[in-house]
């Protein structure tokens, strides 16, 4: 799925963003990539998306050899991956439906398939009934779910979430993480780039830690909360609200988020 061997990236200004990094991520894994600012996380993502080329080393992503890939093949490489951005990156003038459909239309999918898949993606992230809303009319968590639906709609092999909880409150973070776990359980590889160690410890999984451009740790951590049980036990409390309460209790997070966005 992803194979990086002795990869280094040196930018033209001399910054060595990644140093001799070797990472293998297999199909179906749930991986956190953590590190502080400047650790090399962004460069790691740019290399996966072939927005930057590695200076040294070999990268294979979903069968594409990124050291030899032709320019015209890059869009097809990107179609095998779905991205969830920290700041959602939704188009304000488009409805929820159109934002999600945009990802399919942009690659020339027939409208019949767009209708079918967008419905599925909306259901997968629990946004039924909000198809006609615009991003500004949704809460941060809902916007992030739209972003997730857009990442899912083209059936990617890998979902990459770049600081997905960075702009949403703990309630929504918990819910989003749960959805990512569900997606992973259905076979999609999930890579979450984050610096929120609390979140990582709560959900557990494989954690690759980058620091100063190198991999300093790569291990599997057990979850510190039983999020499945939490989700089940709070199901009677009208879903997300109960789940997040449990999440907050277990993770020690308090609901101090000043989520300025309107609740949908």
């Amino acid at each position: 799925m992803i194979h990086m061997k002795n990869v280094s990236k040196v930018y033209p200004n001399g910054t060595e963003a990644l140093k001799n990094v070797s990472i293998d991520i297999d199909r179906g894994e749930f991986v956190f990539v953590v590190g502080s600012s400047g650790a090399g996380k962004s460069t790691f993502l740019k290399l996966l998306f072939h927005e930057e080329k590695a200076t040294f080393g070999k990268i294979m992503v979903n069968g594409y050899d990124l050291t030899k890939i032709k320019k015209r093949q890059v869009p097809y490489l990107r179609r095998t991956m779905g991205i969830v951005f920290q700041d959602f990156r939704l188009i304000e003038k488009m409805t929820v439906y159109d934002n999600i459909a945009f990802a399919m239309r942009a690659i020339g999918a027939p409208e019949r398939l767009v209708r079918k898949r967008v419905r599925y993606a909306i259901a997968a992230v629990g946004l039924e009934g909000k198809e006609k809303r615009r991003p500004g009319e949704l809460s941060g968590g809902e916007q992030q779910r739209v972003s997730l639906a857009r990442a899912l709609v083209n059936k990617p092999e890998i979902i990459i979430a770049d600081e997905p909880t960075g702009n949403i409150d703990p309630k929504m973070s918990f819910e989003l993480m749960q959805r990512l776990v569900e997606i992973n359980k259905r076979g999609t590889t999930v890579i979450i780039v984050t610096h929120e160690l609390e979140l990582v410890h709560s959900f557990g999984g494989r954690v690759i830690q980058l620091d100063n451009g190198g991999v300093v740790d790569d291990r599997v951590l057990p979850p510190t909360i039983d999020y499945e049980a939490a989700a089940e036990s709070s199901a009677s409390e009208s879903s997300a609200a109960g789940q997040t309460k449990e999440f907050e209790r277990l993770s020690g997070k308090t609901d101090t988020a000043d989520d300025n966005q309107k609740e949908g």
Binding site: R72, P75, Q86, R89, I91
Partner: protein, 303 residues
């Protein structure tokens, strides 16, 4: 690009025009101006060329006789002209008939210029057999005693040739300069649309849209502006063609008879201008979007 995407892409192109309507309108105006000037230069040149060739093919010359020459002497002189080998026909054109041609222009003066007071002389309309001996024949006629002058239409041809050359040179530079300006304006319009949509473009790139797919709506936008400009410019030229010819014909009689009739060129004007508009639009759009995608547009902003 799949066929089923074409409707979506064309729709996006039209949306771009509306969202960026001020710049689209500016491009349209500049493009229309460029096409009208280009078209005017081309039409003048084509008509002048037709006039010149008409004069070249015209084997008739006018021989004006001395003013004092009597009618009898004039008729005798006609016999001398007919004796020249290259003369095919020689028709007498008395001054009384000649003055009638000026009746409208002379108005009240016409009556006072009859008979003895007629300021014109008698003339002959001479048709030549072979135009290649044109100059020599004219010299022979001029040598006959009593011939005042021979209308040498070669002078008009030379003047028109100079005019044609001038129109071609000036037209070339005007078209070149306006063409560059138009391409610049069109590509700037597209650039503005692109910048206003760079966020969408970055999302398109992140989900795996090909550059061709990203380009198409912008090219559709530019081509539509070009096509509209082509139509407007051709409508303008078609509307102005006959009035201009008529006005010019009042000054030079030859223009009235020897220019190309509108009915035989209007379709060429419409097709030519629409094609030119589309071509300029497509080139401007393509250059602009390709440059953008090569530089800034290659990045998925926000990492």
């Amino acid at each position: 690009m799949k066929f089923n995407s074409s409707g979506y892409l064309v729709k996006e192109g039209f949306k771009n025009i509306w969202n960026n309507r001020m710049m689209s309108f500016a491009s349209l105006i500049v493009l229309v101006s460029c096409l009208v000037i280009t078209g005017a230069a081309i039409l003048i040149s084509v008509n002048v060329t037709t006039l010149i060739s008409g004069i070249g093919d015209d084997n008739q010359i006018n021989v004006f006789l001395d003013y004092e020459m009597s009618d009898i002497d004039s008729i005798k002189l006609g016999a001398a002209i007919k004796k020249i080998n290259n003369v095919d026909e020689c028709t007498y054109y008395p001054k009384d008939e000649a003055i009638k041609e000026y009746k409208t222009r002379l108005g009240n003066l016409y009556d006072s210029l009859q008979g003895e007071k007629n300021p014109l002389g008698n003339a002959y309309k001479v048709c030549l057999k072979d135009l290649s001996d044109y100059k020599q024949t004219i010299q022979e006629i001029e040598a006959i005693e009593g011939v005042y002058t021979v209308s040498d239409r070669g002078d008009i041809a030379r003047t028109l040739t100079k005019l044609n050359y001038f129109v071609a040179i000036v037209g070339f530079w005007v078209v070149l300069i306006l063409g560059v300006v138009t391409l610049f304006i069109i590509s700037n319009t597209i650039k503005m649309t692109m910048y206003s949509r760079r966020f969408e473009i970055s999302i398109m790139k992140s989900v795996g849209a090909t550059n061709t797919f990203i380009r198409i709506p912008f090219i559709v936008e530019a081509m539509t502006i070009g096509l509209a400009a082509g139509f407007i410019a051709s409508a303008f030229l078609i509307a102005a063609y006959n009035p201009v010819i008529e006005t010019a014909g009042k000054m030079i009689t030859l223009i009235r008879t020897s220019t190309i009739p509108l009915s035989s060129i209007w379709l060429n004007i419409v097709l030519g201008f629409s094609g030119a508009g589309i071509l300029i639009g497509a080139s401007g759009g393509y250059i602009s979007i390709s440059k953008y995608l090569r530089r800034e547009g290659g990045e998925i902003i926000g990492w």
